[in-house]
């Protein structure tokens, strides 16, 4: 993956597939630590699945037996001296409080750090594909933060769907303008 925003797009698909209705994407950047955390309230994974989930030969896909989403994200973190951790609660064991948290920590000053890239595009595509999910995005930096919460947008939009082209275009620009204001 050429951009971390592509990894985020990819990992969030797992949360969608897990049936989450709320997905939080939190980026925290301070000094030489850059953290990406994706939290969902989907069905979660059982312990033995979580243990093997960074193995490319563990996958939920049915078209072939190799899944590279998590291993690629892990590689992107580890090649900067960082790491990837996953914690999950499966709905069968935690009926009230299930879901998955994927956390990747990077050193953004490392020469092998992958740039974040076009996060606005990742967010609009996630919202376009799953407008019924409650998406929460925050990127905190030392000099300010960028955020988006689709529930707030829905409150303004009323009957107009989130995946209307004009709304998606507005979301993309809203994110970009927040970044350029930092």
């Amino acid at each position: 993956m050429k951009e971390l925003s592509l990894n985020i797009l990819d990992i969030a698909q797992n949360s969608i597939k897990a049936g989450a209705d709320t997905i939080k994407i939190e980026l925290t950047e301070s000094g030489n630590r850059f953290e990406i955390r994706i939290t969902d309230n989907g069905c979660g994974m059982k312990e033995d699945f979580v243990r093997n989930v960074t193995d490319p030969f563990t996958t939920t896909r049915t078209t072939r037996k190799v899944g590279l989403g998590i291993p690629l994200f892990k590689l992107a973190a580890e090649q900067t001296g960082g790491k990837l951790t996953i914690s999950s609660k499966h709905e069968s064991e935690h009926p009230q409080d299930h879901g998955t948290v994927v956390t990747a920590v990077f050193d953004p000053t490392h020469m092998d750090f992958t740039p974040l890239g076009d996060i606005a595009s990742t967010l609009t595509i996630l919202i376009q594909g799953s407008p019924d999910i409650h998406w929460i995005y925050t990127h905190s930096k030392d000099n300010g933060s960028v955020s988006l919460d689709t529930d707030e947008l829905k409150a303004v939009l009323g009957d107009v769907p989130l995946d209307t082209f004009e709304v998606l275009a507005w979301i993309g620009n809203y994110i970009k303008e927040q970044y350029s204001g930092l």
Binding site: R61, R64, L72, Q128, G129, L153, V156, V160, E166, E177
Partner: protein, 121 residues
């Protein structure tokens, strides 16, 4: 700076059109967005479809959706076009430019671009 007030203005503008958009979808464009598709460049391809469909005012007729791995990862980005009463068309190794061409020649013109389809590989 973009503000929520601006979003409210979009709401005012769009409200009349919403009804028109429902019950749409004579043609369905499906973009593969699994790891393989994303790594191969599916994100800009999907964006190109969404933009071009809006530019050409096709939103009432064409819907764009996302799917997982279609199973031919080496040919990603893969795009499938479903049309009522017609056979599914699978386009492979897509780019944003090819996406615009598919909109123009296939979606609007009704003619499949054979050279971009999986059967041509």
């Amino acid at each position: 700076m973009k503000s929520l007030a601006e979003l409210a203005a979009i709401r005012e503008k769009m409200q009349g059109k919403v009804v028109l958009r429902e019950g749409s979808g004579d043609i369905r464009v499906v973009v593969g967005m699994a790891t393989c598709g994303i790594a191969a460049g599916a994100r800009p391809v999907l964006n190109a479809f969404v933009e071009e469909i809006n530019n050409r005012d096709l939103a009432g007729k064409v819907t764009v959706s996302q799917t997982g791995c279609i199973g031919i990862c080496q040919f990603e980005p893969v795009v499938e076009v479903f049309e009522a009463d017609k056979e599914k068309v699978t386009y492979v190794k897509m780019t944003p430019d090819k996406a615009k061409e598919v909109i123009e020649k296939h979606i609007i013109g009704g003619k499949v671009i054979e050279e971009y389809t999986v059967s041509n590989i």
